[in-house]
Subunit: 213 residues, 2 copies
């Protein structure tokens, strides 16, 4: 193993982040360190460290009453897609320019998984493979700044994405678009990859709007 063990604080962070982003806690809800500590069976120290990270992500806020859940609203979603439309093409272009052959092979593997789950119509697995595809492209850009910014934007949408992939034809369309994007990247065609991914993000936004209205 090359990375450090996952600490309790890390686990708490991941759990809370996930719970907040999927809407487990409602917007404006107030949490307290003591209760989290009691419920999760750990001391306040790792809880607080997780909270500081969530605070830095702006999905919670501190007040004297306790921790206020901010989460993600529908209005946020619109802006998130506006932003992704504008910078995700940059990631695709950068991926074409910087990805290793190994990277491209891994991207293909992710795509095969998505294909498999789309046929089996397993919504959660489709959603994860879909996310992995985008995240892989982000990291293939070899820019930590770009990857982090896009990863942050991407994960904030998860609450609204499940309905979108549950519809088979929508899931199939997304898969086809991923396939085209993959081909463009594998052929090292930066212009095409960029334009395809921009179109894909726009389509994803529309599919998401259809399914959440």
């Amino acid at each position: 193993m090359e990375h450090r063990n996952i600490s309790i604080a890390d686990q708490i962070f991941e759990k809370l982040e996930k719970d907040i982003l999927i809407g487990e806690y409602s917007r404006g809800e107030i949490l307290t360190e003591s209760k989290l500590s009691e419920n999760l069976g750990v001391s306040r120290t790792p809880i607080r460290e997780a909270l500081r990270r969530l605070e830095q992500e702006h999905i919670i806020e501190m007040s004297s009453k306790g921790i206020v859940v901010v989460g993600i609203s529908k209005e946020d979603i619109d802006m998130i897609y506006e932003m992704r439309v504008r910078i995700e093409g940059l990631a695709a272009r950068s991926a074409v320019e910087n990805a290793s052959e190994e990277d491209i092979k891994e991207l293909r593997d992710i795509l095969s998984l998505q294909e498999f789950y789309t046929h089996k119509e397993e919504a959660d697995n489709i959603k994860n493979a879909d996310s992995d595809f985008h995240k892989k492209i982000y990291s293939m850009s070899k820019s930590v700044t770009l990857r982090d910014a896009l990863t942050d934007l991407h994960k904030k949408v998860i609450k609204f994405r499940r309905a979108s992939v549950s519809n088979h034809s929508r899931a199939k369309n997304a898969l086809d678009e991923h396939m085209s994007i993959y081909n463009a990247i594998a052929e090292r065609n930066a212009d095409l990859a960029e334009s395809l991914i921009v179109k894909h993000v726009e389509n994803a936004r529309n599919r998401l709007k259809e399914s959440n209205n």
Copy 2:
């Protein structure tokens, strides 16, 4: 006062963030909690909370040896400007659509300050007023997501910006561009504001490259 008192942990966070972003610590340098604790005269608890936030901002990384300073490299700068070019126009447009008259008045005040300091050629004050101008537009967009993303990008450039504003003609150009952008926003001309700020960010990137080569 409407916000909570600034805790020691918050102060430590701000200090460390600033020190890292201005290049006080060199890339790859290893810090330890104990030494920070000793040097800053506080216990490890607030230190650790500050570190978790810095980690979340990806300007430090944890390893078993200690805290590794990541900071910002020249290559990061290029990508940061690429990203700003693509999304800062969104902020200007959104600001035009959502800003209150009070907001616009405040923006004007910031601009006046920048004008004052530019005449007096006080580099640090120019730099701060310049930052404030952009940050005000970010917050005028009324989108927390957009504001946070742009603020993160903006503050990561500070190490490289000082030289840029030290040259009077470059500082004057930046001021003129800000003036035009302000006018477009005050006239509620979204298209113009967007195109002007995009051009301004591109110019700022060029000015920065000139001054750092």
